[in-house]
């Protein structure tokens, strides 16, 4: 059943019924067990049929985005020159990105490959979105705790329109304490929304060619407002 219609390595072709069941099942499982990151990924793939082509078109119509679609860069430990990035001056995208990875003890290699997207280019788009997620954290200055993740999800929901981000943004806060909810509602979310609306498409940035650029300068270029001065 699989081997004949595989569009890219790891692709599992699915019928519309299967996609619907997967979307429902993964949503339930992701809410039931938040550690099932693979379920969040599956949900994103099965519900992205409108948002992904949209994103892909935005990329196609932008010179840098178009180049990304042609060259298909991947952000992985094997492709990153960690030593060089660490050697960059403080405040530069590369240095701050590496600092973010170290502080939060995360690695770019833990992103799940796309499985259920039935178009090879769109599979790359969602892959790019996943791999750029950590850079979002860096640009927005948000750590990987629950609060930080929710803020980034709000930003991504506005930017990409992916139902997965919308659901994450809506349901994420459910497990937060009241104090954090307050900070979220009064300062962080309004800022994330304003930045998301104001900023140009974050997938149209060839991050791998901008490691030396200062984070502040990149924020200004994209249209992301400076993060509010609160402890996250």
């Amino acid at each position: 059943m699989e081997g004949w219609h595989q569009l890219y390595p790891g692709h599992i072709p699915t019928s519309p019924l299967q996609k619907a069941l997967l979307a429902a099942g993964s949503a339930v499982m992701a809410l039931y067990d938040p550690y099932r990151h693979d379920m969040v990924a599956v949900f994103g793939e099965t519900t992205g049929c409108l948002a992904l082509p949209n994103l892909r078109d935005k990329m196609r119509n932008h010179p840098e985005g178009y180049r990304i679609l042609q060259e298909r860069p991947r952000i992985r430990l094997s492709t990153l020159d960690m030593a060089r990035l660490q050697g960059l001056p403080d405040g530069s995208l590369g240095r701050e990105y590496v600092r973010f990875l170290e502080d939060n003890k995360v690695s770019p290699d833990t992103r799940m490959p796309a499985k259920f997207v039935d178009d090879e280019e769109l599979a790359y788009v969602i892959q790019r979105y996943r791999e750029v997620h950590d850079l979002m954290h860096t640009l927005l200055g948000m750590p990987t705790n629950m609060l930080g993740e929710v803020v980034v999800k709000w930003f991504e929901a506005i930017q990409t329109g992916l139902p997965m981000c919308v659901l994450g943004a809506a349901f994420g806060p459910v497990r937060l304490s009241t104090r954090k909810l307050q900070v979220l509602a009064t300062e962080l979310v309004p800022w994330a929304i304003r930045s998301g609306l104001n900023a140009s498409c974050v997938l149209n940035v060839y991050y791998e060619q901008r490691w030396e650029q200062p984070v502040e300068s990149l924020r200004e270029e994209l249209g992301i407002f400076p993060p509010p001065a609160v402890r996250v």
Partner: protein
């Protein structure tokens, strides 16, 4: 007659082990060439064994949860029916092949225990004229014999499945009468004529050479021993078959992905069910291995079938 048959079988076995697989298979009228099916894919024998090992290694921890979800708990009933059909009495020595997480073994123990209980109760009724002291003493000697010397050996080729089975046994409090052995159904690590009953529940489908497994089953059973096989089979009713296919191919891999994070293993599962020989063909294969009075019973219109045979 039986001696000649045995001798001939032994020669065949030795020939099998020395000649290249293709030639033997052609000689025995089986599919030519080393290609086999793995679900709907075509692979070599060695690849198939590898892949199947990996499938069960991956699903081991979620095996029981998945069984319950896929069959909506009905697999429990099927296994109960198998053990009831077996109707073991205390003292039976059972070999449960591909027994992985121990479902059949635990049911066997429960069954034998309850039969033993009834035996003891009957004995007690006869002893109602004894003194308290004598009754108490009779408790003592039977206390260490709640299973009546019955034993079950759980044999599986996959270490992970056995591990899960052992943990389950500990958790559920099964300690006596159980042994866990790592072994291949095609080449069992047991001597001839050892067991009273041989069961293989939802395992024979995953064996690469079913004929060898059946021969081994014949070998290790005592004369008079019973072979029981519980396996997914073919549904002949056309409407039900359509619904069953729809459920199998549309829902089960999704369940696999959502619950176990593993689509492919459950895709393999539903494909392997379609590739497995139907009831009559399996019956013929069992007869070929030397079993007598081979019969099968369809459960749920053929979704599952229990095949039974005797070594005489």
């Amino acid at each position: 007659m039986a001696a000649v048959r045995l001798w001939r079988w032994r020669c065949r076995c030795r020939a099998l082990l020395s000649r290249p697989a293709g030639a033997v298979r052609a000689q025995r009228g089986l599919a030519a060439g080393p290609e086999m099916h793995f679900g709907f894919q075509t692979v070599t024998e060695e690849e198939r064994r590898e892949k199947i090992y990996q499938v069960f290694e991956t699903v081991a921890k979620k095996y029981d949860v998945m069984n319950d979800s896929m069959t909506l708990g009905i697999h429990r009933v099927w296994k109960d029916i198998l053990v009831h059909k077996m109707n073991p009495c205390p003292g039976t020595l059972l070999l449960d092949v591909a027994g992985g997480t121990g479902d059949i073994a635990f049911r066997f123990i429960n069954y034998v225990r309850s039969v033993r209980q009834r035996q003891l109760q009957r004995k007690l009724k006869h002893n109602q004229n004894l003194s308290w002291q004598e009754i108490f003493e009779s408790y003592q000697e039977d206390k260490f014999n709640s299973l009546g010397d019955s034993q079950v050996v759980v044999c599986d080729i996959n270490r992970e499945m056995l591990k899960v089975g052992k943990q389950k046994a500990q958790r559920l409090g099964y300690s006596e009468g159980l042994s866990w052995v790592l072994g291949n159904a095609e080449e069992l690590p047991f001597d001839d004529d050892k067991f009273d009953v041989y069961t293989i529940a939802f395992g024979i489908r995953n064996v690469t050479r079913i004929d060898l497994a059946l021969q081994e089953a014949y070998r290790v059973l005592k004369p008079g021993g019973r072979f029981l096989c519980l396996e997914f089979s073919h549904v002949s009713n056309p409407l039900l078959s359509r619904l069953y296919d729809l459920y199998s191919f549309q829902v089960i891999p999704v369940l696999g992905e959502v619950i176990a994070g593993d689509w492919r293993s459950y895709q393999y599962l539903v494909e392997s069910i379609r590739q497995f020989p139907p009831q009559e063909e399996l019956k013929a294969m069992i007869e070929d291995a030397g079993f007598f009075k081979v019969d099968y019973e369809n459960l749920n219109f053929g979704i599952v079938a229990i095949h039974s045979g005797f070594k005489l």
